[in-house]
Structures are given as C-alpha cells and as structure tokens.
C-alpha cells in the first residue's frame, strides 16, 4: 500500500502542474484526498479542462468513470471548501497510462442549473448526464437527448435532491393505469 501511495504522490503534481500551467484561471480549488487529485473547476471551463485531461498525451485520462452530483443543501457550511453552491457535479476520470484517477468537481448554483455536456468527448457520458438530470434536475447543455432515464417520464421532482423525501410524495400509492404509457 505504501509503495503504491508513493508512486501516486510522484505523479500527482504532474496533473496539477499541467493544469496550473494551461488552465490556471479555471481552477477554483485543488486538493489531494486519499491518493486522488481533486480539482474544482468553474463550470464555464469544465469542457475545456476535461478535454485537456483526456487528450493531453502525458496525462491521458481517457476513461470517463462516472458523472454524478451531490446536493450540498444540508452540508454544514464549514465543511465546504469554498463558496457555497447548491449542487456539485462530480466527474471521475481514470488514466490507463498512469493507472491513476482524478476527480473534477464543478459547483452549480441553484439559480442557473446548467452545465456543458461532455457527450462529445465520451459516448458513455450520455446516460450518466441523463441520470444526473433525472435525479438532480441539472441541465446539460448540448446533450443530444436529455430526458428522464430511471424514473417514469411523467414523474415530478428529482429524487436525490435533499428536499425530496425518502418515501416519496405519494407516487407509489397514486396510480393512474390509464395514463401510463407502457
């Protein structure tokens, strides 16, 4: 375990160094948590940063592992590393070349719930963005087909938001079988 960490620590600065060199103005914060580099990026530049991480031959974060979001509305403010934003979009990337991971976080304020879509970079981003839209109501601009994926099309609300109750708002009891399009 220790050896592995040392190796990662050596490669870590490279990502940050290169990002600072090429995208200094888009970085809001940076961190290293448990062997993973975490960068916080302004949402206007997220596409450029992710594209850079993917295509730079030295970094080659070619594999999009995951896109998800976190609703910060019940997070205590002192735990936030920077200014409060209701949502945080989280991108996980993996590099086959260096066998290491990087996490890109993008704060999204409630009054402007839109983020550029990265479907042009990774085909796999399509459903991930749809799920994030379904669960959190984040709009991914430029997504080819943004609609609900897990919940029925006529569902109201976004279940993974913190203000949505665990047991729902009565959807599971109310049923109109005629309306449902099977």
């Amino acid at each position: 375990m220790n050896e592995e960490k040392e190796v990662e620590e050596q490669s870590k600065p490279l990502v940050l160094e290169k990002l600072e060199e090429h995208h200094a103005d888009s970085l809001l914060a940076q961190d290293e948590a448990r062997g993973t580099v975490v960068v916080v990026v302004h949402k206007e530049q997220v596409y450029a940063v992710l594209e850079y991480l993917k295509t730079d031959p030295e970094l080659a974060y070619a594999f999009l592992v995951d896109i998800t979001a976190v609703d910060n509305s019940q997070m205590e403010s002192e735990l936030m590393q920077f200014d409060y934003a209701r949502f945080m979009i989280v991108y996980q990337l993996y590099s086959f070349q260096d066998q290491c991971r990087v996490r890109v976080r993008v704060p999204v304020h409630e009054n402007d719930l839109s983020v550029p879509s990265v479907t042009a970079l990774w085909k796999g981003a399509n459903w991930l963005e749809r799920e994030t839209y379904d669960m959190f109501g984040i709009n991914f601009e430029g997504h080819p087909d943004l609609h609900r994926i897990l919940m029925p099309d006529d569902f109201e609300g976004h279940p993974l938001r913190k203000d949505y109750p665990l047991r729902g708002r009565g959807e599971r009891e109310r049923f109109n079988f005629d309306k449902q399009n099977v």
Partner: protein
C-alpha cells in the same frame, strides 16, 4: 395412483367406470399442470431459476412449463421488486392472463416492499393485483417457492376461487 388425485366425491364402481363431477376432473387437470408466468425482476428471480434448475426441479410438481407469454399461463409468480415504472407492466401482464389465474407474490419486496421503503418501490403488489399466496423471505429459498406452488394446487383441489375471480367455470 391416478384416482386419488381427482379428490373427494369420486366413486369407483365394480367395472372400470368412475363417476365424478366435471369440475373435479378439470381442477385435477389444472392442479397438476400449472403453467407459471414468471415475472422475475430481481434477486428472487435468481432463486426462482434455481427452483426450476437441476437440484430443486419444479417439474416434479407439474409446473416446469414456464411460459413467458401471459396468454398461455395460469400462475403468475411475481418475484422481485416492483417499481412505479414497472407496476403498469405487471398490471397489464396480469390482465392479459386468461381466467382462472392465480398469483404468487414471492419474497418480501413483492409482498410489502421489503427493506426498500423508498419513493420508487411499490409497497406490496396486492394493492393493485389480487394475490393468492405470499412467500416470506428475502429471498425465499427454492423450497418455499415449491411450497407455494403446492398451496396453489391445494387451493385448486379444494375448489376455491382464485382471489381475482368471482366464480370459476
């Protein structure tokens, strides 16, 4: 062996003639050739597959003719979690089955939502379709499913109507 299966009320005369009622003969036939329609969605479906496979072998009880077409089946086995997106599908499958039809609700999730008391999960399919036999367990063992099939068979022998139908034949 055969005559016992026809149930009470059978009279055997000196010759090779038996008298009984049509209902009893029909029920005897039904009981021994239940055709299940497996509505398997989650973990319970894996145990249902195990029930059908080599070790437990549901065909010993005449129910191995699994039909994925509801129009050919008379026993609906709901095994697994049913979400609000799935419920209309289940209802439609149930409606498509010809009468008389029986329903087994296999496992905690289908019967009451199980450990998933969440926004998306139906807390018991019996709110929307009539259920004849419930099987507890998460997931139930294959023996439990066999027992449930036997209970449906008993129900048929006794001449009781399925939950969802007022009068049988």
């Amino acid at each position: 062996m055969g005559l016992d299966f026809v149930g009470r009320g059978v009279e055997e005369t000196d010759g090779n003639i038996i008298t009984t009622t049509i209902d009893k003969v029909v029920n005897w036939g039904r009981k021994n050739s239940l055709w299940p329609m497996p509505f398997g969605t989650a973990c319970c479906a894996i145990e249902m597959m195990a029930t059908l496979a080599s070790k437990f072998d549901l065909s010993r009880f005449g129910s191995e003719a699994i039909r994925f077409s509801p129009r050919q089946s008379d026993l609906l086995i709901v095994s697994g979690r049913i979400s609000i997106k799935m419920m209309p599908v289940l209802k439609r499958i149930y409606d498509q089955m010809p009468d008389p039809k029986w329903v087994i609700s296999m496992g905690a999730c289908a019967s009451c939502g199980g450990v998933f008391d969440t926004y998306t999960l139906i807390q018991g399919v019996d709110q929307f379709i009539p259920v004849d036999v419930y099987i507890p367990g998460c997931p139930p063992r294959p023996e439990d499913l066999i027992d449930a099939v036997l209970q449906v068979q008993q129900k048929i022998t006794s001449g009781a109507s399925p939950k969802g139908v007022e009068v049988v034949v």
